[in-house]
Symmetry: C2
Subunit: 331 residues, 2 copies
Protein backbone atom coordinates (compact mmCIF):
# COMPACT_ATOMS: atom_id res chain seq x y z
CA UNK A 1 0.00 0.00 0.00
CA UNK A 2 1.17 3.51 -0.82
CA UNK A 3 -1.00 5.37 1.67
CA UNK A 4 -1.22 9.14 1.10
CA UNK A 5 -2.79 11.28 3.87
CA UNK A 6 -4.63 13.68 1.54
CA UNK A 7 -8.19 14.94 1.43
CA UNK A 8 -10.49 16.00 -1.38
CA UNK A 9 -11.54 19.18 0.39
CA UNK A 10 -14.00 20.35 -2.24
CA UNK A 11 -15.67 19.29 -5.46
CA UNK A 12 -17.55 21.27 -8.09
CA UNK A 13 -18.79 21.16 -11.65
CA UNK A 14 -20.10 23.15 -14.54
CA UNK A 15 -22.65 21.95 -17.08
CA UNK A 16 -23.48 23.91 -20.21
CA UNK A 17 -27.11 25.10 -20.27
CA UNK A 18 -27.78 23.57 -23.66
CA UNK A 19 -29.35 20.10 -23.20
CA UNK A 20 -29.62 17.76 -26.19
CA UNK A 21 -32.02 14.85 -25.71
CA UNK A 22 -31.47 11.51 -27.37
CA UNK A 23 -34.85 11.94 -29.10
CA UNK A 24 -33.61 15.21 -30.62
CA UNK A 25 -30.27 13.66 -31.54
CA UNK A 26 -31.96 10.64 -33.15
CA UNK A 27 -33.85 12.98 -35.46
CA UNK A 28 -30.71 14.97 -36.25
CA UNK A 29 -28.49 12.00 -37.13
CA UNK A 30 -31.24 9.87 -38.62
CA UNK A 31 -31.65 6.84 -36.33
CA UNK A 32 -34.88 5.29 -35.06
CA UNK A 33 -36.55 6.84 -31.98
CA UNK A 34 -35.46 5.08 -28.77
CA UNK A 35 -32.45 3.38 -30.34
CA UNK A 36 -29.86 5.73 -28.78
CA UNK A 37 -31.34 5.29 -25.29
CA UNK A 38 -31.37 1.49 -25.64
CA UNK A 39 -27.89 1.20 -27.18
CA UNK A 40 -26.00 3.73 -25.05
CA UNK A 41 -28.11 4.28 -21.94
CA UNK A 42 -27.84 8.05 -22.48
CA UNK A 43 -31.13 9.97 -22.40
CA UNK A 44 -29.67 13.48 -22.54
CA UNK A 45 -26.31 15.25 -22.52
CA UNK A 46 -25.06 18.84 -22.56
CA UNK A 47 -23.29 20.53 -25.47
CA UNK A 48 -21.26 23.69 -24.93
CA UNK A 49 -22.66 26.65 -26.85
CA UNK A 50 -20.24 29.53 -26.63
CA UNK A 51 -18.47 28.36 -23.48
CA UNK A 52 -14.69 27.94 -23.47
CA UNK A 53 -12.79 25.06 -21.82
CA UNK A 54 -11.10 27.44 -19.38
CA UNK A 55 -14.35 29.30 -18.65
CA UNK A 56 -16.15 26.04 -17.81
CA UNK A 57 -13.13 24.95 -15.76
CA UNK A 58 -13.12 28.20 -13.77
CA UNK A 59 -16.84 27.85 -12.97
CA UNK A 60 -16.30 24.29 -11.72
CA UNK A 61 -13.23 25.42 -9.77
CA UNK A 62 -15.15 28.23 -8.02
CA UNK A 63 -17.76 25.70 -6.83
CA UNK A 64 -15.00 23.33 -5.62
CA UNK A 65 -13.18 26.13 -3.78
CA UNK A 66 -16.41 27.27 -2.10
CA UNK A 67 -17.14 23.66 -1.09
CA UNK A 68 -13.63 23.45 0.35
CA UNK A 69 -13.95 26.81 2.12
CA UNK A 70 -10.79 28.01 0.40
CA UNK A 71 -10.01 31.16 -1.53
CA UNK A 72 -8.57 31.31 -5.01
CA UNK A 73 -5.42 32.88 -3.56
CA UNK A 74 -4.63 29.79 -1.51
CA UNK A 75 -3.83 27.49 -4.44
CA UNK A 76 -0.23 26.33 -4.88
CA UNK A 77 -0.78 24.40 -8.12
CA UNK A 78 -3.43 24.19 -10.84
CA UNK A 79 -3.49 20.98 -12.87
CA UNK A 80 -5.49 20.85 -16.07
CA UNK A 81 -6.63 17.26 -16.56
CA UNK A 82 -8.49 17.16 -19.85
CA UNK A 83 -8.16 15.32 -23.13
CA UNK A 84 -8.25 18.25 -25.53
CA UNK A 85 -6.63 21.55 -24.58
CA UNK A 86 -8.32 24.88 -25.16
CA UNK A 87 -5.44 25.73 -27.51
CA UNK A 88 -2.07 24.11 -28.25
CA UNK A 89 -0.09 26.82 -26.40
CA UNK A 90 -0.11 27.60 -23.50
CA UNK A 91 -1.37 24.73 -21.36
CA UNK A 92 -5.03 24.97 -20.29
CA UNK A 93 -4.09 25.23 -16.60
CA UNK A 94 -2.46 28.62 -17.24
CA UNK A 95 -5.64 29.81 -18.95
CA UNK A 96 -7.62 28.56 -15.93
CA UNK A 97 -5.39 30.55 -13.55
CA UNK A 98 -6.16 33.67 -15.59
CA UNK A 99 -9.89 32.93 -15.90
CA UNK A 100 -10.19 32.24 -12.16
CA UNK A 101 -8.35 35.42 -11.27
CA UNK A 102 -5.93 33.37 -9.16
CA UNK A 103 -2.99 35.55 -8.16
CA UNK A 104 -0.21 35.06 -10.65
CA UNK A 105 3.18 33.86 -9.45
CA UNK A 106 1.42 32.14 -6.51
CA UNK A 107 0.69 28.83 -8.29
CA UNK A 108 2.29 26.62 -10.93
CA UNK A 109 0.11 25.54 -13.83
CA UNK A 110 0.50 22.41 -15.93
CA UNK A 111 -1.66 19.84 -17.73
CA UNK A 112 -1.81 16.05 -17.32
CA UNK A 113 -3.39 14.00 -20.07
CA UNK A 114 -4.36 10.35 -20.03
CA UNK A 115 -7.63 10.92 -21.91
CA UNK A 116 -10.54 9.56 -19.82
CA UNK A 117 -8.26 8.77 -16.87
CA UNK A 118 -6.62 12.24 -16.78
CA UNK A 119 -8.36 13.16 -13.53
CA UNK A 120 -7.28 9.96 -11.76
CA UNK A 121 -3.65 10.40 -12.88
CA UNK A 122 -3.72 14.07 -11.86
CA UNK A 123 -5.24 13.17 -8.47
CA UNK A 124 -2.50 10.60 -7.82
CA UNK A 125 0.16 13.09 -8.93
CA UNK A 126 -1.22 15.94 -6.82
CA UNK A 127 -1.36 13.58 -3.83
CA UNK A 128 2.36 12.82 -4.20
CA UNK A 129 3.23 16.53 -4.16
CA UNK A 130 1.00 17.20 -1.14
CA UNK A 131 2.22 14.17 0.83
CA UNK A 132 5.82 15.27 0.19
CA UNK A 133 5.04 18.79 1.42
CA UNK A 134 5.88 20.43 -1.92
CA UNK A 135 2.40 21.93 -2.41
CA UNK A 136 -0.36 22.37 0.17
CA UNK A 137 -3.45 22.99 -1.96
CA UNK A 138 -3.85 21.74 -5.51
CA UNK A 139 -6.74 22.42 -7.87
CA UNK A 140 -7.43 19.71 -10.45
CA UNK A 141 -9.86 20.55 -13.25
CA UNK A 142 -11.13 18.42 -16.10
CA UNK A 143 -12.99 20.43 -18.73
CA UNK A 144 -14.13 18.80 -21.93
CA UNK A 145 -15.81 20.23 -25.00
CA UNK A 146 -16.00 17.10 -27.09
CA UNK A 147 -19.18 17.90 -29.06
CA UNK A 148 -17.42 19.52 -32.07
CA UNK A 149 -15.27 16.37 -32.45
CA UNK A 150 -18.16 13.89 -32.68
CA UNK A 151 -18.67 12.13 -35.99
CA UNK A 152 -22.37 12.02 -36.95
CA UNK A 153 -21.57 9.08 -39.25
CA UNK A 154 -20.63 7.02 -36.18
CA UNK A 155 -23.87 7.57 -34.30
CA UNK A 156 -23.23 5.11 -31.50
CA UNK A 157 -20.11 6.88 -30.23
CA UNK A 158 -21.42 10.33 -31.23
CA UNK A 159 -24.52 9.78 -29.09
CA UNK A 160 -22.46 8.65 -26.10
CA UNK A 161 -20.55 11.84 -25.31
CA UNK A 162 -21.39 15.09 -23.56
CA UNK A 163 -19.59 18.27 -22.51
CA UNK A 164 -18.87 19.12 -18.86
CA UNK A 165 -16.26 20.39 -16.45
CA UNK A 166 -15.52 19.16 -12.92
CA UNK A 167 -12.99 20.21 -10.33
CA UNK A 168 -11.46 19.00 -7.09
CA UNK A 169 -9.36 20.77 -4.48
CA UNK A 170 -6.85 18.49 -2.79
CA UNK A 171 -5.22 19.29 0.55
CA UNK A 172 -3.35 17.40 3.23
CA UNK A 173 -5.57 15.50 5.67
CA UNK A 174 -5.52 17.22 9.05
CA UNK A 175 -4.64 15.19 12.15
CA UNK A 176 -7.65 13.09 13.10
CA UNK A 177 -9.16 13.17 9.60
CA UNK A 178 -9.50 9.72 8.06
CA UNK A 179 -9.28 11.04 4.48
CA UNK A 180 -6.58 9.38 2.37
CA UNK A 181 -5.68 7.88 -0.94
CA UNK A 182 -5.04 4.27 0.00
CA UNK A 183 -3.84 2.79 -3.28
CA UNK A 184 -3.70 3.51 -6.99
CA UNK A 185 -2.81 1.33 -9.93
CA UNK A 186 -2.56 2.14 -13.64
CA UNK A 187 -1.48 0.08 -16.64
CA UNK A 188 -1.37 0.95 -20.34
CA UNK A 189 -1.98 -1.63 -23.05
CA UNK A 190 -0.89 0.19 -26.20
CA UNK A 191 -1.95 -2.63 -28.52
CA UNK A 192 -5.30 -0.95 -27.90
CA UNK A 193 -4.04 2.54 -28.88
CA UNK A 194 -6.06 2.49 -32.10
CA UNK A 195 -9.33 1.47 -30.45
CA UNK A 196 -10.12 5.03 -29.36
CA UNK A 197 -8.51 7.72 -31.46
CA UNK A 198 -8.71 11.25 -32.68
CA UNK A 199 -5.75 11.24 -35.05
CA UNK A 200 -5.92 14.96 -35.88
CA UNK A 201 -5.11 18.07 -33.86
CA UNK A 202 -1.43 17.18 -33.35
CA UNK A 203 1.77 16.75 -35.31
CA UNK A 204 0.70 13.65 -37.29
CA UNK A 205 -2.11 15.38 -39.18
CA UNK A 206 -1.48 19.08 -38.64
CA UNK A 207 -4.59 21.26 -39.03
CA UNK A 208 -2.83 23.19 -41.82
CA UNK A 209 -1.84 20.05 -43.76
CA UNK A 210 -4.04 19.90 -46.88
CA UNK A 211 -4.13 16.10 -46.49
CA UNK A 212 -5.87 16.38 -43.10
CA UNK A 213 -9.55 15.47 -43.45
CA UNK A 214 -12.52 16.47 -41.30
CA UNK A 215 -12.86 12.84 -40.14
CA UNK A 216 -9.30 12.88 -38.78
CA UNK A 217 -10.35 15.68 -36.40
CA UNK A 218 -13.20 13.59 -35.01
CA UNK A 219 -13.39 10.87 -32.39
CA UNK A 220 -13.32 7.31 -33.70
CA UNK A 221 -14.16 4.48 -31.30
CA UNK A 222 -14.27 0.76 -31.82
CA UNK A 223 -16.70 0.17 -28.98
CA UNK A 224 -17.06 -3.64 -29.18
CA UNK A 225 -13.27 -4.17 -29.43
CA UNK A 226 -12.63 -1.88 -26.43
CA UNK A 227 -15.27 -3.78 -24.51
CA UNK A 228 -13.64 -7.15 -25.35
CA UNK A 229 -10.19 -5.79 -24.37
CA UNK A 230 -11.53 -4.50 -21.06
CA UNK A 231 -13.33 -7.80 -20.39
CA UNK A 232 -10.04 -9.65 -20.77
CA UNK A 233 -7.80 -7.28 -18.79
CA UNK A 234 -10.01 -5.61 -16.17
CA UNK A 235 -10.84 -8.60 -13.98
CA UNK A 236 -7.23 -9.63 -13.22
CA UNK A 237 -6.29 -5.93 -12.89
CA UNK A 238 -9.05 -5.36 -10.32
CA UNK A 239 -8.25 -8.59 -8.46
CA UNK A 240 -4.58 -7.63 -8.11
CA UNK A 241 -5.58 -4.12 -7.05
CA UNK A 242 -7.85 -5.41 -4.26
CA UNK A 243 -5.21 -7.92 -3.15
CA UNK A 244 -2.67 -5.06 -2.76
CA UNK A 245 -5.25 -2.81 -1.14
CA UNK A 246 -6.46 -5.31 1.42
CA UNK A 247 -10.13 -4.32 1.10
CA UNK A 248 -13.01 -6.60 0.19
CA UNK A 249 -15.37 -5.52 -2.60
CA UNK A 250 -18.08 -5.19 0.07
CA UNK A 251 -16.04 -2.59 2.00
CA UNK A 252 -16.52 -0.04 -0.78
CA UNK A 253 -19.33 2.42 -0.04
CA UNK A 254 -19.40 3.80 -3.58
CA UNK A 255 -17.81 2.71 -6.84
CA UNK A 256 -17.46 5.75 -9.11
CA UNK A 257 -16.56 4.42 -12.54
CA UNK A 258 -15.63 6.28 -15.68
CA UNK A 259 -19.00 6.63 -17.40
CA UNK A 260 -17.67 4.94 -20.52
CA UNK A 261 -20.89 3.30 -21.64
CA UNK A 262 -23.87 1.42 -20.20
CA UNK A 263 -22.17 -1.92 -20.95
CA UNK A 264 -18.93 -0.87 -19.26
CA UNK A 265 -20.77 0.21 -16.11
CA UNK A 266 -22.87 -2.97 -16.04
CA UNK A 267 -19.67 -5.05 -16.08
CA UNK A 268 -18.78 -3.71 -12.64
CA UNK A 269 -21.62 -5.75 -11.19
CA UNK A 270 -21.80 -8.51 -13.81
CA UNK A 271 -18.09 -9.43 -13.77
CA UNK A 272 -16.06 -7.37 -11.29
CA UNK A 273 -17.86 -8.43 -8.14
CA UNK A 274 -19.72 -5.29 -7.05
CA UNK A 275 -23.43 -5.03 -6.28
CA UNK A 276 -25.37 -2.67 -8.60
CA UNK A 277 -26.27 -0.54 -5.56
CA UNK A 278 -22.58 0.18 -4.94
CA UNK A 279 -22.08 1.68 -8.39
CA UNK A 280 -22.79 5.37 -9.02
CA UNK A 281 -23.76 6.41 -12.51
CA UNK A 282 -24.76 9.70 -14.09
CA UNK A 283 -24.49 8.34 -17.64
CA UNK A 284 -28.23 8.69 -18.29
CA UNK A 285 -28.23 12.50 -17.88
CA UNK A 286 -24.61 13.39 -18.63
CA UNK A 287 -23.30 10.90 -21.17
CA UNK A 288 -19.60 10.09 -21.24
CA UNK A 289 -17.85 13.40 -20.50
CA UNK A 290 -14.35 12.02 -21.26
CA UNK A 291 -11.88 13.19 -18.58
CA UNK A 292 -14.60 15.18 -16.79
CA UNK A 293 -16.69 12.03 -16.36
CA UNK A 294 -15.09 10.60 -13.20
CA UNK A 295 -14.73 13.89 -11.25
CA UNK A 296 -18.26 14.97 -12.29
CA UNK A 297 -19.73 11.66 -11.09
CA UNK A 298 -17.74 11.91 -7.85
CA UNK A 299 -18.77 15.53 -7.29
CA UNK A 300 -22.45 14.79 -7.95
CA UNK A 301 -22.36 11.75 -5.64
CA UNK A 302 -20.78 13.80 -2.84
CA UNK A 303 -23.11 16.80 -3.20
CA UNK A 304 -26.11 14.40 -3.36
CA UNK A 305 -25.04 12.90 -0.01
CA UNK A 306 -24.40 9.47 -1.55
CA UNK A 307 -20.73 9.71 -0.48
CA UNK A 308 -19.98 11.01 3.02
CA UNK A 309 -16.81 11.77 4.95
CA UNK A 310 -15.09 8.54 5.98
CA UNK A 311 -16.65 6.49 3.18
CA UNK A 312 -14.43 4.13 1.20
CA UNK A 313 -14.63 5.06 -2.47
CA UNK A 314 -13.26 3.37 -5.58
CA UNK A 315 -12.55 5.31 -8.77
CA UNK A 316 -12.12 2.89 -11.65
CA UNK A 317 -12.12 2.97 -15.42
CA UNK A 318 -10.52 2.53 -18.78
CA UNK A 319 -9.28 5.27 -21.07
CA UNK A 320 -7.80 5.59 -24.52
CA UNK A 321 -4.26 4.28 -24.60
CA UNK A 322 -5.70 1.75 -23.68
CA UNK A 323 -5.15 2.42 -19.99
CA UNK A 324 -6.76 0.79 -16.97
CA UNK A 325 -6.91 2.63 -13.68
CA UNK A 326 -8.14 2.08 -10.15
CA UNK A 327 -7.77 4.41 -7.15
CA UNK A 328 -9.08 3.71 -3.67
CA UNK A 329 -9.67 6.54 -1.26
CA UNK A 330 -11.28 7.31 2.05
CA UNK A 331 -13.37 10.39 1.40
CA UNK B 1 14.59 21.89 0.75
CA UNK B 2 12.59 19.05 -0.74
CA UNK B 3 15.48 16.66 -1.35
CA UNK B 4 14.65 13.68 -3.59
CA UNK B 5 17.17 10.82 -3.80
CA UNK B 6 16.73 10.14 -7.51
CA UNK B 7 19.19 9.71 -10.37
CA UNK B 8 19.02 10.50 -14.06
CA UNK B 9 20.37 7.10 -15.05
CA UNK B 10 20.42 7.72 -18.78
CA UNK B 11 19.91 10.42 -21.38
CA UNK B 12 19.38 10.24 -25.12
CA UNK B 13 18.16 12.22 -28.09
CA UNK B 14 17.04 12.05 -31.68
CA UNK B 15 17.63 14.72 -34.30
CA UNK B 16 15.98 14.61 -37.72
CA UNK B 17 18.54 14.24 -40.54
CA UNK B 18 17.24 17.25 -42.40
CA UNK B 19 19.31 20.34 -41.46
CA UNK B 20 18.11 23.79 -42.45
CA UNK B 21 20.74 26.53 -42.27
CA UNK B 22 19.86 30.10 -41.46
CA UNK B 23 21.33 31.12 -44.84
CA UNK B 24 18.88 28.77 -46.55
CA UNK B 25 16.01 29.96 -44.36
CA UNK B 26 16.84 33.64 -45.03
CA UNK B 27 16.46 32.99 -48.76
CA UNK B 28 13.24 31.09 -48.23
CA UNK B 29 11.47 33.66 -46.05
CA UNK B 30 13.05 36.69 -47.72
CA UNK B 31 15.29 38.34 -45.11
CA UNK B 32 18.83 39.68 -45.55
CA UNK B 33 21.73 37.18 -45.34
CA UNK B 34 23.20 37.06 -41.84
CA UNK B 35 20.21 38.73 -40.18
CA UNK B 36 18.79 35.50 -38.68
CA UNK B 37 22.13 34.52 -37.16
CA UNK B 38 22.62 38.00 -35.65
CA UNK B 39 19.05 38.35 -34.35
CA UNK B 40 18.47 34.84 -33.01
CA UNK B 41 21.92 33.28 -32.58
CA UNK B 42 20.71 30.22 -34.49
CA UNK B 43 22.94 29.07 -37.37
CA UNK B 44 21.14 25.84 -38.18
CA UNK B 45 18.26 23.71 -36.92
CA UNK B 46 16.64 20.39 -37.84
CA UNK B 47 13.21 19.95 -39.38
CA UNK B 48 11.42 16.61 -39.26
CA UNK B 49 10.80 15.16 -42.70
CA UNK B 50 8.57 12.12 -42.40
CA UNK B 51 9.36 11.37 -38.76
CA UNK B 52 6.53 11.09 -36.24
CA UNK B 53 6.58 12.50 -32.70
CA UNK B 54 6.39 8.99 -31.20
CA UNK B 55 9.02 7.62 -33.60
CA UNK B 56 11.47 10.37 -32.66
CA UNK B 57 10.61 9.85 -29.00
CA UNK B 58 11.27 6.10 -29.22
CA UNK B 59 14.68 6.67 -30.84
CA UNK B 60 15.65 9.11 -28.07
CA UNK B 61 14.30 6.67 -25.46
CA UNK B 62 16.38 3.76 -26.82
CA UNK B 63 19.55 5.86 -26.51
CA UNK B 64 18.59 6.88 -22.94
CA UNK B 65 17.84 3.27 -21.95
CA UNK B 66 21.16 2.07 -23.39
CA UNK B 67 22.97 4.87 -21.52
CA UNK B 68 21.20 3.76 -18.34
CA UNK B 69 21.96 0.09 -18.97
CA UNK B 70 18.25 -0.71 -18.68
CA UNK B 71 15.92 -2.68 -20.88
CA UNK B 72 12.66 -1.46 -22.27
CA UNK B 73 10.86 -4.05 -20.14
CA UNK B 74 12.06 -2.45 -16.91
CA UNK B 75 10.03 0.75 -17.22
CA UNK B 76 7.19 1.34 -14.75
CA UNK B 77 5.96 4.62 -16.27
CA UNK B 78 6.34 6.53 -19.51
CA UNK B 79 5.70 10.26 -19.36
CA UNK B 80 5.29 12.20 -22.58
CA UNK B 81 6.48 15.75 -21.93
CA UNK B 82 5.90 17.69 -25.12
CA UNK B 83 3.92 20.75 -26.15
CA UNK B 84 2.02 19.33 -29.09
CA UNK B 85 0.78 15.74 -29.01
CA UNK B 86 1.12 13.42 -31.98
CA UNK B 87 -2.68 13.27 -32.07
CA UNK B 88 -5.44 14.43 -29.72
CA UNK B 89 -6.30 10.86 -28.58
CA UNK B 90 -4.62 8.83 -27.11
CA UNK B 91 -1.83 10.57 -25.19
CA UNK B 92 1.59 10.51 -26.88
CA UNK B 93 3.12 8.40 -24.09
CA UNK B 94 0.87 5.47 -25.05
CA UNK B 95 2.06 5.78 -28.66
CA UNK B 96 5.66 5.82 -27.37
CA UNK B 97 5.07 2.60 -25.40
CA UNK B 98 3.86 0.96 -28.61
CA UNK B 99 6.65 2.41 -30.79
CA UNK B 100 9.31 1.33 -28.26
CA UNK B 101 7.89 -2.16 -28.03
CA UNK B 102 7.70 -1.77 -24.26
CA UNK B 103 5.68 -4.66 -22.80
CA UNK B 104 2.09 -3.56 -22.43
CA UNK B 105 0.44 -3.70 -19.06
CA UNK B 106 3.89 -3.24 -17.46
CA UNK B 107 3.94 0.58 -17.51
CA UNK B 108 1.47 3.44 -17.18
CA UNK B 109 1.54 6.13 -19.87
CA UNK B 110 0.50 9.75 -19.52
CA UNK B 111 1.49 13.19 -20.80
CA UNK B 112 2.52 16.31 -18.88
CA UNK B 113 2.39 19.64 -20.65
CA UNK B 114 3.79 22.96 -19.54
CA UNK B 115 5.05 23.93 -23.01
CA UNK B 116 8.81 24.65 -22.85
CA UNK B 117 9.01 23.56 -19.20
CA UNK B 118 7.20 20.24 -19.72
CA UNK B 119 10.39 18.22 -19.15
CA UNK B 120 11.20 19.99 -15.89
CA UNK B 121 7.65 19.50 -14.57
CA UNK B 122 7.71 15.84 -15.65
CA UNK B 123 11.11 15.31 -14.01
CA UNK B 124 9.87 16.78 -10.73
CA UNK B 125 6.70 14.66 -10.95
CA UNK B 126 8.57 11.44 -11.77
CA UNK B 127 10.92 12.13 -8.87
CA UNK B 128 7.97 12.31 -6.44
CA UNK B 129 6.69 8.93 -7.62
CA UNK B 130 10.14 7.33 -7.36
CA UNK B 131 10.97 8.84 -3.97
CA UNK B 132 7.60 7.55 -2.67
CA UNK B 133 8.35 4.06 -4.00
CA UNK B 134 5.35 4.03 -6.37
CA UNK B 135 7.47 3.56 -9.51
CA UNK B 136 11.08 2.47 -9.77
CA UNK B 137 12.05 3.46 -13.33
CA UNK B 138 10.39 6.26 -15.25
CA UNK B 139 11.02 7.26 -18.85
CA UNK B 140 10.43 10.94 -19.66
CA UNK B 141 10.43 11.92 -23.33
CA UNK B 142 10.01 15.31 -24.96
CA UNK B 143 9.47 15.12 -28.69
CA UNK B 144 8.66 18.22 -30.68
CA UNK B 145 7.79 18.67 -34.33
CA UNK B 146 7.19 22.41 -34.34
CA UNK B 147 8.27 23.18 -37.91
CA UNK B 148 4.77 22.86 -39.49
CA UNK B 149 3.45 25.40 -36.95
CA UNK B 150 5.95 28.16 -37.74
CA UNK B 151 4.62 31.33 -39.33
CA UNK B 152 6.89 32.50 -42.17
CA UNK B 153 5.38 35.97 -41.81
CA UNK B 154 6.90 36.19 -38.31
CA UNK B 155 10.45 35.40 -39.37
CA UNK B 156 12.13 36.14 -36.05
CA UNK B 157 10.20 33.49 -34.14
CA UNK B 158 9.98 31.16 -37.16
CA UNK B 159 13.78 31.18 -37.46
CA UNK B 160 14.24 30.42 -33.76
CA UNK B 161 12.70 26.95 -33.58
CA UNK B 162 13.87 23.46 -34.48
CA UNK B 163 12.58 19.90 -34.18
CA UNK B 164 14.12 17.34 -31.81
CA UNK B 165 13.39 14.66 -29.25
CA UNK B 166 15.21 13.98 -25.97
CA UNK B 167 14.69 11.40 -23.24
CA UNK B 168 15.74 10.69 -19.68
CA UNK B 169 15.42 7.58 -17.54
CA UNK B 170 14.91 8.35 -13.86
CA UNK B 171 15.60 5.82 -11.10
CA UNK B 172 16.15 5.89 -7.36
CA UNK B 173 19.67 6.82 -6.29
CA UNK B 174 21.45 3.74 -4.91
CA UNK B 175 23.01 3.92 -1.44
CA UNK B 176 26.29 5.83 -1.75
CA UNK B 177 25.26 7.65 -4.93
CA UNK B 178 25.17 11.43 -4.52
CA UNK B 179 22.58 11.89 -7.27
CA UNK B 180 19.49 13.82 -6.19
CA UNK B 181 17.02 16.52 -7.05
CA UNK B 182 17.72 19.10 -4.38
CA UNK B 183 15.04 21.68 -5.03
CA UNK B 184 12.54 22.77 -7.66
CA UNK B 185 10.42 25.86 -7.97
CA UNK B 186 7.81 26.83 -10.54
CA UNK B 187 5.48 29.83 -10.84
CA UNK B 188 2.95 30.76 -13.53
CA UNK B 189 2.19 34.38 -14.43
CA UNK B 190 -0.89 34.06 -16.60
CA UNK B 191 -1.01 37.77 -17.45
CA UNK B 192 1.65 36.58 -19.90
CA UNK B 193 -0.54 33.80 -21.34
CA UNK B 194 -0.96 35.69 -24.62
CA UNK B 195 2.72 36.39 -25.12
CA UNK B 196 3.39 32.92 -26.56
CA UNK B 197 0.39 31.27 -28.16
CA UNK B 198 -0.84 28.81 -30.67
CA UNK B 199 -4.56 29.40 -30.37
CA UNK B 200 -5.58 26.57 -32.71
CA UNK B 201 -5.51 22.81 -32.37
CA UNK B 202 -7.85 22.70 -29.39
CA UNK B 203 -11.46 23.42 -28.44
CA UNK B 204 -11.31 27.22 -28.92
CA UNK B 205 -10.62 27.08 -32.66
CA UNK B 206 -11.43 23.50 -33.64
CA UNK B 207 -9.65 22.34 -36.82
CA UNK B 208 -13.06 21.64 -38.40
CA UNK B 209 -14.47 25.08 -37.58
CA UNK B 210 -14.67 27.05 -40.85
CA UNK B 211 -13.71 30.19 -38.90
CA UNK B 212 -10.34 28.68 -37.95
CA UNK B 213 -7.57 30.27 -40.02
CA UNK B 214 -4.12 28.94 -40.94
CA UNK B 215 -2.51 31.60 -38.73
CA UNK B 216 -4.42 30.32 -35.69
CA UNK B 217 -2.64 26.97 -36.11
CA UNK B 218 0.77 28.63 -36.00
CA UNK B 219 3.01 29.82 -33.20
CA UNK B 220 2.76 33.52 -32.35
CA UNK B 221 5.39 35.00 -30.02
CA UNK B 222 5.79 38.51 -28.69
CA UNK B 223 9.52 38.13 -28.12
CA UNK B 224 10.35 41.58 -26.70
CA UNK B 225 7.37 41.50 -24.28
CA UNK B 226 8.34 38.01 -23.04
CA UNK B 227 11.88 39.23 -22.56
CA UNK B 228 10.70 42.25 -20.53
CA UNK B 229 8.42 40.01 -18.41
CA UNK B 230 11.27 37.60 -17.72
CA UNK B 231 13.63 40.46 -16.87
CA UNK B 232 11.20 41.68 -14.24
CA UNK B 233 10.28 38.32 -12.68
CA UNK B 234 13.31 36.03 -13.15
CA UNK B 235 15.82 37.77 -10.88
CA UNK B 236 13.69 37.68 -7.68
CA UNK B 237 12.53 34.15 -8.61
CA UNK B 238 16.15 32.95 -8.94
CA UNK B 239 17.24 34.75 -5.77
CA UNK B 240 14.47 33.11 -3.74
CA UNK B 241 15.27 29.76 -5.29
CA UNK B 242 18.96 29.95 -4.34
CA UNK B 243 18.06 31.16 -0.83
CA UNK B 244 15.85 28.07 -0.34
CA UNK B 245 18.43 25.82 -1.96
CA UNK B 246 21.39 27.01 0.10
CA UNK B 247 23.83 26.93 -2.83
CA UNK B 248 25.87 29.84 -4.14
CA UNK B 249 25.77 30.60 -7.87
CA UNK B 250 29.44 29.57 -8.00
CA UNK B 251 28.62 26.05 -6.70
CA UNK B 252 26.82 25.21 -9.96
CA UNK B 253 29.00 23.22 -12.36
CA UNK B 254 26.62 23.67 -15.29
CA UNK B 255 23.59 25.84 -15.89
CA UNK B 256 21.39 24.19 -18.52
CA UNK B 257 18.81 26.78 -19.54
CA UNK B 258 15.84 26.46 -21.82
CA UNK B 259 17.31 27.54 -25.16
CA UNK B 260 14.65 30.21 -25.54
CA UNK B 261 16.73 32.73 -27.48
CA UNK B 262 20.23 34.22 -27.51
CA UNK B 263 19.05 37.17 -25.41
CA UNK B 264 17.41 34.91 -22.83
CA UNK B 265 20.57 32.84 -22.45
CA UNK B 266 22.79 35.93 -22.22
CA UNK B 267 20.67 37.20 -19.32
CA UNK B 268 21.88 34.28 -17.19
CA UNK B 269 25.33 35.88 -17.07
CA UNK B 270 24.30 39.53 -17.58
CA UNK B 271 21.65 39.65 -14.85
CA UNK B 272 21.26 36.36 -12.96
CA UNK B 273 24.79 36.14 -11.58
CA UNK B 274 26.33 33.22 -13.49
CA UNK B 275 29.62 33.30 -15.40
CA UNK B 276 29.24 32.68 -19.17
CA UNK B 277 31.44 29.56 -18.78
CA UNK B 278 28.88 28.00 -16.44
CA UNK B 279 26.09 28.20 -19.03
CA UNK B 280 25.61 25.41 -21.58
CA UNK B 281 24.02 26.30 -24.88
CA UNK B 282 23.24 24.36 -28.04
CA UNK B 283 21.07 27.13 -29.48
CA UNK B 284 23.49 27.77 -32.38
CA UNK B 285 23.07 24.29 -33.88
CA UNK B 286 19.67 23.22 -32.51
CA UNK B 287 17.54 26.33 -32.19
CA UNK B 288 14.79 26.43 -29.57
CA UNK B 289 13.34 22.91 -29.54
CA UNK B 290 10.41 23.85 -27.25
CA UNK B 291 9.97 21.15 -24.56
CA UNK B 292 12.82 19.07 -26.02
CA UNK B 293 15.24 21.97 -25.57
CA UNK B 294 16.21 21.47 -21.92
CA UNK B 295 16.55 17.64 -21.98
CA UNK B 296 18.45 17.81 -25.31
CA UNK B 297 20.89 20.39 -23.93
CA UNK B 298 21.29 18.31 -20.74
CA UNK B 299 21.81 15.09 -22.71
CA UNK B 300 24.35 16.67 -25.05
CA UNK B 301 26.24 18.23 -22.12
CA UNK B 302 26.40 14.88 -20.31
CA UNK B 303 27.45 12.86 -23.36
CA UNK B 304 30.08 15.53 -24.21
CA UNK B 305 31.58 15.10 -20.72
CA UNK B 306 30.73 18.68 -19.72
CA UNK B 307 28.54 17.34 -16.89
CA UNK B 308 29.88 14.45 -14.80
CA UNK B 309 28.50 12.35 -11.95
CA UNK B 310 28.40 14.37 -8.75
CA UNK B 311 28.21 17.73 -10.55
CA UNK B 312 25.70 20.30 -9.34
CA UNK B 313 23.43 21.23 -12.23
CA UNK B 314 20.77 23.89 -12.57
CA UNK B 315 17.91 23.57 -15.06
CA UNK B 316 16.23 26.93 -15.53
CA UNK B 317 13.89 28.60 -17.97
CA UNK B 318 10.66 30.26 -18.92
CA UNK B 319 7.83 28.72 -20.87
CA UNK B 320 4.51 29.79 -22.30
CA UNK B 321 1.97 30.37 -19.57
CA UNK B 322 4.06 32.37 -18.71
CA UNK B 323 5.81 29.99 -16.32
CA UNK B 324 9.20 30.28 -14.64
CA UNK B 325 11.03 27.18 -13.50
CA UNK B 326 14.25 26.23 -11.74
CA UNK B 327 15.39 22.77 -10.68
CA UNK B 328 18.67 22.00 -8.94
CA UNK B 329 20.12 18.51 -9.09
CA UNK B 330 23.27 16.58 -8.33
CA UNK B 331 23.92 14.57 -11.46
Amino acid sequence: MHYLPVRIAGLGWYLPDHTVTSAELAGRIGVAPGLIERATGVVERRYAAGETSAGMAAAAARMALEHAGLGVGELDAIIGASTAPQQVVPCTAALIQRELGAPEGRSVCFDINATCLSFMLALHTAAQFIAAGVYRRVLIVSSEIVSPSLNPNEWESAALFGDAAAAAVLTAAAPGQASAICQARFATYSSGAELTQCVGGGTLHHPNDPATTREMNMFAMQGPAIFRHALRTMRPFADEFFAELGWEREDVAAVVPHQASRHAIEQLSDRLGFRPAQVWSNLRERGNCVAASIPLALAEAVHAGRIRRGDRVLLIGTGAGLTLGALALVF
